[in-house]
Amino acid sequence: MGFLEERFEDNIVTAKVDQLLSWARSTSAWYFQFGLACCAIEMMATAASRHDLERIGMMPRSSPRQADVMIVAGTVTLKMATRVKKLYDQMAEPKYVISMGSCANSGGPYSRAGYHVLKGVDQVIPVDVYIPGCPPRPESLIEGLLKLQEKIRHERPLTKKK
């Protein structure tokens, strides 16, 4: 970290507050525990012991007020879309959305014939990372989450935007 690096004794790290904050945010992105369809099974498998999401600092929270990341895992029906929007509005800033699987990305198998399915959750809430797959394997989900961490790490929350 600049010219201050390695000037102090061991175990002392120097950083800008900005970078430190975004680093802390990225490594403790707690996700909102809710699933809409079969993608949620894959999300649960990712959180379970073999893939173990907690090793990258993600743990499930059951309340939108404590969560940072919303993983939209599954088919968003029109009935559910209003609820998803409401849950998203209840989350505290900063908040991020991951669209998991074909259904949440574009409607998937329902994109042409489904009368009841929202064709992509990005019509209702802003999405940060899209993960393809039907359903995506845990590896894909972890890849998407690492991409999101990368995005959060490059944010500068204290720097004023020009």
């Binding site: 029109l78 042409r112 009368y115 064709k119 019509q123 209702v124």
Partner: protein, 165 residues
């Protein structure tokens, strides 16, 4: 003895004119008229020889734009271990049929689902609301003449994407 023929004969004897006789003999179902369906249902449940105490499924069928709607009931008897299917055609313009919700308690949600998808009004049902779709939904989506709406509560339903066909 084939159970369908037996039930059909008993019903014809008890309620003359309620059974529509098939053109060819078959063992799949019994076609009934909707008029006194509620009494027939009570009879099917109570009669010692029949004892259809379990309503397993109620299905709606749309037979085509020019044709009728149809409601199909599957009954099973725990005591005699036999089962039948009963089909009742209802008019497309005025789809009304007596409810059996108070005969078999399990028919409650099944009838609500048929109402939700086909708009068949079950007369005498105590709580006939939509089952799966939101309450402000318009139309009956599993009918053949259903038109998919373009917009619902400000959300686009149809999304034209070029190059997908």
């Amino acid at each position: 003895m084939i159970i369908n023929q037996k039930v059909s004969d008993i019903l014809e004897k008890q309620f003359p004119g309620s059974v529509i006789q098939p053109e060819e003999p078959q063992n799949d179902y019994i076609q009934l008229l909707p008029n006194n369906w509620n009494e027939i249902a009570k009879f099917l449940k109570k009669e010692t020889e029949l004892k259809f105490d379990s309503c397993q499924c109620i299905t709606g069928v749309d037979l085509g734009i020019e044709e009728n709607l149809e409601v199909r009931y599957n009954f099973h008897s725990m005591k005699h271990k036999h089962k039948i299917e009963i089909r009742i055609a209802v008019d497309r313009k005025r789809p009304t049929i007596p409810s059996v919700e108070q005969v078999w308690r399990g028919a409650d949600w099944l009838e609500r689902e048929v109402y939700d998808m086909y708009g068949v009004r079950f007369k005498g049902h105590r709580d006939l609301r939509r089952m799966l779709l939101p309450e402000d939904w318009k139309g009956w989506p599993l009918r053949k003449d259903y038109k998919t709406p373009n917009i619902y509560n400000g959300m686009k339903v149809k999304k034209v994407r070029k190059g997908w066909d």
